[in-house]
Structures are given as C-alpha cells and as structure tokens.
C-alpha cells in the first residue's frame, strides 16, 4: 500500500492513443501511461488541464479498464453540456494529444479480493465505468465470484458498454445483467422499464446463486440513495455497501 500511495503523488503525461464513441454523449479515451501503475478495479485518476495562462482545471474519472500489464487505461467521459473539462475532451482533444493525470487513487470503492461471496453492482449512466473495470477484472482473472449488474440508462442507445455487456452475459459464467430503461420500454424480458426501486433490486439480487456479500453503487446522489436503501432492505450491512456519487 505504501508504494501505491507514493505513486499517487506524481503527475504524469499521457498520450491519447485512441478515442472511441460509446454512446451519443459518452466517448472512451484510451491513454498511454508514461509511468505504468497497477490499479485495482474501482479506482480513479485525477486529470488536469492547463490553460496557457496557468489556469488549471482538475476532475476525477473512474478507470473503466481492468488492471493489466498494459500501459493503456480507458476513461469513459460523458459530455456534460455545462461542463468545463468534459466538453474539452469531446470537442477538442485528439489522438496524439498529451493529458496530465495522477493515480491510481481511491482506497474504498474497490473490488473485494479475494472474494467468494456474490457481488451486486448497481450503476446509472456513465456510473457503470468503475463497475465495468470490476467485471472486466473478474473475466480476466477467471475469479469464480458470481456477479450481477443492474444498469439504469435513459434508452437502449445510451447504454454504456452495451454490446460488451451483452456478449459477457452469454460468455461469462455466473454473470447476470439487467437493464432498467427510464425513457423507453425495455424489450428484453429480463430488463425493466422505468426507474429502479427496491423490487427491481431484489429481483436482480435473486439472480445470484446466493445472497450478495457486498454491493457497489455508482451514479447520481438521488439514484445512489434509492439503490443503497434497496440493498439495505435486502439485509446487507451498511458497511458492505460502497457508493460513489457524482460530484461536480
């Protein structure tokens, strides 16, 4: 842990090596680290942008890629209309540009390893990013921990990592995946139409082979409160429910 903390003190320059449009509002930025790090699934990086007059803007973004030997990490960034940093990434940044970041950061919202009890993941919108790192990690590590993901999205077209999740649903053992679409009816029998509530969360948790030992919830504050209360209602202890709420 000491080494990981020491590394966080250092800012490093990273080259954008690929930009992928994920949804109408979300693009993935693949950044090549100049100084490699070994992150844990669920961690984030701080990114800073510096204007010619020295003005600096800093934001935190979850790492969506799984820990690996690769020097390339993936950040899924949603374009916020009133944002300062996300419009720069969407409208200005190009492959070959250099971005400064530091990380990996965060010592709480972390995939529990080694884990044997099932894990319940609940996300909304781009809040699936740190959960995706966990799912990708579970796949890459061949851990046998059962995982269920409940993902809320406005529409089918706006589901971040949709095709990859649909593929994992069929190829990854002990992985259950359910969508809750809030702005259009769900067409798959296993998905939900409308906002999540305690009933929806209980339904998805019941798709696990045993009660979840812990839960990770990521999204807006209002969404996280509803989801976390629903997980409490399942009987999980508050300390086993880890949340990440979008800041500003």
């Amino acid at each position: 842990m000491t080494e990981a903390i020491a590394a966080t003190a250092r800012w490093q320059s990273c080259a954008i090596v690929e930009i992928a449009t994920r949804t109408p509002a979300i693009k993935s930025f693949f950044l090549r680290l100049s100084e490699t790090f070994d992150h844990k699934a669920g961690q984030h990086v701080d990114v800073r942008l510096i204007a010619p007059n020295g003005y600096t803007a800093m934001r935190s973004y979850s790492i969506a890629s799984a820990p690996s030997d690769s020097r390339v990490i993936e950040l899924a960034i949603e374009r916020l209309p009133d944002g300062e940093v996300s419009p720069f990434f969407h409208d200005v940044a190009q492959v070959g540009d250099t971005i400064e970041l530091r990380g990996p950061l965060g010592g709480h919202f972390l995939w529990p390893r080694p884990s044997s009890k099932p894990v319940l993941l609940i996300g909304a919108g781009s809040g699936v990013a740190p959960l995706m790192a966990m799912i990708r990690y579970r796949k890459a590590s061949a851990e046998v921990v059962p995982v269920a993901l409940l993902l809320s999205s406005r529409t089918w077209c706006e589901v971040l990592f949709r095709d990859e999740l649909l593929e994992l649903e069929t190829s990854l053992p002990d992985f259950a995946f359910a969508l809750a679409l809030t702005r259009e009816p769900a067409t798959r029998r296993t998905d939900f139409s409308g906002r999540i509530d305690a009933r929806v969360v209980a339904d998805v948790a019941a798709r696990l082979p045993a009660s979840p030992g812990c839960a990770f919830v990521c999204g807006s504050n209002a969404f996280v409160d509803i989801a976390a209360d629903a997980v409490l209602a399942l009987g999980l202890e508050a300390g086993t429910i880890k949340t990440e709420r979008y800041g500003a």
Partner: protein, 201 residues
C-alpha cells in the same frame, strides 16, 4: 505543461483569492458519501467526548442543543475539486463543547467519530479558537440528512472530508491517528491552499 486547445471557463469575475488551486466554483451543494445515507432520529442521537478510550461526557440531543450557539459563514472546498462560497452554518463551537465538559487540551490530536463508522483526524489547533463547530443548521434550516443531519463537524478551512457528516463524538488521541479516508490514501491534514489532497502531497 499547457494542454493543447484548453482555455477553461475563466469568467474573470471569480474571486481567485477565495478559490484554492485546482478548485472550481459550484452553485449547487454536491453530496459525496462512501456508503448508504444514515437515518438518525433525535431520540437515538448522542454526542460523546472521549480522552483516549475514556468517555468524559455524553450529551443527548436536547442537552447538546442547549449549548451556546455560534454562526459562521465560510467558503468550503471539497477534495474532488469543487468549492462553494459563503455557506452559512449554525451550531456549537468545539470550544463550547470542551468548556461544557471542563476540558481544555488533554492532547494535541483529535479523531472525529460518526454514526456510520466514518472517522477523520483533525489537530486540536484546527478545531479550537473558533475555527470549527458541530453544525446543526445550514442556511437557517435543520441540517438535511444527506449533508450530515442531524449534526456534522464543520472545519471549513480544511478539505471538506474533514467536516465529518453524522458526527457523534470527538476523541482526544495521544498521536495523530489516521481516519477513514486518511487510511485510504488521503492526506493527514488536508489544507486546500497547499493542495494536500493525497498522502504525500
């Protein structure tokens, strides 16, 4: 190094002497909490002052509310990079809590404890002499649950994770003991003006 094509949203009207480096202003009041939002009824609320393991005094909700009140309006700064100017709080100054218990400064270090198991360390020098309070009201209203109601610590000159929500006690410690986030990579002191965000900053 300058980021190609980035100018930022610099209005020029922002009072830069009130916005620490790397921070940006918000008008809303973001909520960042590591777990579910606790529900604490006044009947279940207590506040305990300890020296080491030894409880010195315990207040009920009504007893605590009878202590002298202090108001302060301060700028606050979250380590996730948002800052909010001129937030108005009312509560009980840490000085008045110590005075009511007949304590002065048994040790230089304090750990704040909370109903949800959260903790954070703050030196006594940053809590006393009018610098900090246990806040009971925000903008004239009882503190909302999502912002730590019924009571939160308010240490406005340090990053806001030090202003522990759902606080239920202060404990004097012999050494500077790391709290919840300080054990998880965040800075032991957390001065926004020196950007003390993470352990070795």
């Amino acid at each position: 190094m300058v980021t190609r094509g980035f100018t930022g949203r610099q209005s020029g009207s922002e009072p830069s002497d009130r916005v620490p480096p790397g921070q940006h202003l918000v008008d809303n009041f973001p909520v960042l909490t590591a777990g579910p939002t606790p529900r604490i009824e006044p009947a279940d609320w207590t506040f305990t002052l300890k020296v080491g393991p030894r409880p010195v005094k315990v207040w009920s909700w009504s007893e605590f509310n009878a202590l002298p009140r202090t108001r302060m309006t301060r700028d606050i700064h979250c380590v996730t990079s948002w800052s909010k100017l001129s937030t108005a709080w009312e509560g009980v100054a840490v000085d008045d809590i110590l005075a009511d218990a007949g304590l002065s400064a048994p040790t230089p270090f304090v750990l704040a404890h909370c109903f949800d198991g959260y903790s954070t360390n703050v030196p006594l020098a940053d809590l006393a002499t009018g610098k900090a309070m246990v806040a009971l009201k925000y903008e004239g209203q009882p503190l909302p649950r999502e912002h730590g109601g019924p009571a939160r610590l308010l240490v406005p000159h340090l990053y806001f994770w030090k202003s522990a929500k759902w606080v239920n006690g202060l404990q004097f410690t012999e050494r500077d003991e790391a709290g919840f986030w300080e054990l998880r990579g965040y800075h032991m002191y957390g001065d926004p003006w020196n950007e003390q965000r993470y352990t070795n900053d």
